[in-house]
């Protein structure tokens, strides 16, 4: 079950959109954390050690999504939080790059709310399975 999701995007609009989608599909009581660039995301991930999922925009000021992925990789706690990277139509190269940096999956804007939901389900199933196998 998801308890905490970190949303990383410099656009306030996207934060509201994610909130709408998550509130519709995900169990109530889920906490959504908001970061507006990679730097804030690293800070928040450092404070909240129980984040279940990160939704990460690529195109951001200060520290973009790819840079964030590179910086989190050496950190064992951060590295095992699944990340869904959100890229934009025409920038599919970003998605490939993100996957090679350890992102679990990607989604391209514009996407449908149900697509995001499906991706989240898929990731968490996989992740829970892996956890069971490890435990």
């Amino acid at each position: 079950m998801i308890r905490k999701i970190l949303v990383v995007d410099d656009s306030q609009l996207l934060h509201k959109m994610y909130e709408l989608v998550l509130r519709r599909y995900v169990v109530h009581g889920t906490t959504i954390l908001h970061a507006y660039d990679g730097v804030q995301a690293l800070d928040l991930a450092g404070i909240h050690t129980d984040i279940d999922l990160i939704l990460l925009d690529v195109n951001m000021p200060n520290m973009n999504g790819i840079e964030f992925l590179r910086l989190r990789n050496p950190n064992p706690v951060l590295a095992c939080i699944p990340v869904i990277v959100i890229s934009t139509e025409g920038k599919e190269r970003d998605a490939t790059l993100a996957l090679s940096e350890g992102a679990a999956d990607y989604l391209t804007k514009p996407f449908d709310p149900s697509e995001l939901h499906a991706k989240i389900e898929l990731i968490l199933d996989k992740w829970n399975g892996a956890n069971r196998a490890n435990g």
């Binding site: 609009l13 509201k16 709408l20 908001h34 934009t88 920038k91 804007k109 514009p110």
Partner: protein, 509 residues
Amino acid sequence: MGDPSPFGDLLEEFVIESYRRLEAVEQALLQIGEHTAENTPEALANVRRELHTIKGNAGMMGFRDIQNRTHWMEDAISGNQRFTAEQTSLLLLGVDEVRVLLRAAAGDDSTIEASSEAAIPDTAQSGLLVQVAAVDAIVELLADSMILGSRLSRQIELLGEPAEAVSLAWEALEKTLTTIHRRALALRLVPLNPLFASLHRIVHDESLSEEKDIQFSASGGDTLLDKSLLDVAAEALGHIVRNAVIHGIEPMKTRLARDKFPAGTIRVTAFASGAEEICVTVEDDGGGIDHERLLMAAKRKGLIVDDPDDLESLLYLPGLSTREETTLSSGRGIGLSACISAVRRLGGRIELDNRIAEGTTFRLYLPMQVSMIRLMLIEADDARYAIPLSAVSSVARMTRKDLHVINGAGAIGRRRGFLPLLDVGVTFGTSAKIREEGTVVTLSAGGKRRGLLFDRPGAVLDCVVKPLDPICGGETSILGTTIVSEGVVLLALDPIAMMERPLAAGASV
């Protein structure tokens, strides 16, 4: 796709955020075009990123046209490290096009961002979107309740000592009302930054078509101004800045002959010049205003000049331009003279400091906030008055045969009985007896109705009403004074007091 976007509720959010991003794009493009950007490659990367975000968001909202336009702009920038003036202008046109598309997407409803920290740039994360009309409605209701309040306090005063407890309670309530009113007005305060960006744009576009090299700088963009004054300020400053580019800054040859720096400078500065007032200055280092040439132009056009020595009144003369040919921009919007009267009507003023061969400084003073009332102008015995439109429920012509005189007071017949009439001329002593023909507006308040009789109605205007100075005595029929145009001060009538005035001609209180 026939389905509306699942994020339709976020439309306003999308439009506001995209506008803000477009402004950043425009500013950066202008700086890159003028080579004043601190770091061009970085500025370009920012422009690309902002456009990319608008594109992505537009895609999420289902606005294909905005997506395509921003995609095109993003493409045009990719790979370029320097831009020619033409390329910059083309991209700026792109910015304009996206703005138009956004306005269409928004259905043209204006909104303001309400926030206690409106001046801090990253309010995107703590702000709240409010319809301007919603704030205006609250401000209007509060203004109304304060008018009702002053009536209540008059009544309490009449009761004298027995009502002391009521009086104290009322005073406390009145204080609270005043505070709420002030707070509500503060909700409409917005920073001047976007206005400055549009001035920068005017300087860029005009200097390009004038083939002049001009540096633009602005400071004090975080100064706050009432949203309802922003349009007037934008019009007036737009004219002044445009004139500075076209008439103020000399051609390079002249500048060099005057030992000046070849590129001209236009500097815009804003600051709070008082507790309730802001000042925006526009300073250019051009040739100053040529009084003689202005006078000649006025004569050639056959304009009537009251005082040839008064440069300011000459400058704001309607229909005056020293330009021989009309350019694309000169016909835009309302004229400078109309802007100046609008500024004055709103309680502002404009000052001019003209230094021949050195430059010109305009200082525009505006009240930081205003409370405007929609007034209907009326005329009786060649005197003009104004009455709040909110109190008027109908307007009708009255002819001699409609008038009935009952106990010395006038009335006209209506379906539900007689409507008693109050003659404005009789009330203010300009006529001895009730007129037999004219216009009647029906006022209604507290379940009572009364007709206000005068000669003819005039325009309906949004005006700032200033209360009468107590030195004028307790003239309770007057709400206050208002300036409707150049030098014309009118009395705004208090509709509630009009309901209480004795009706019969010649009767005294």
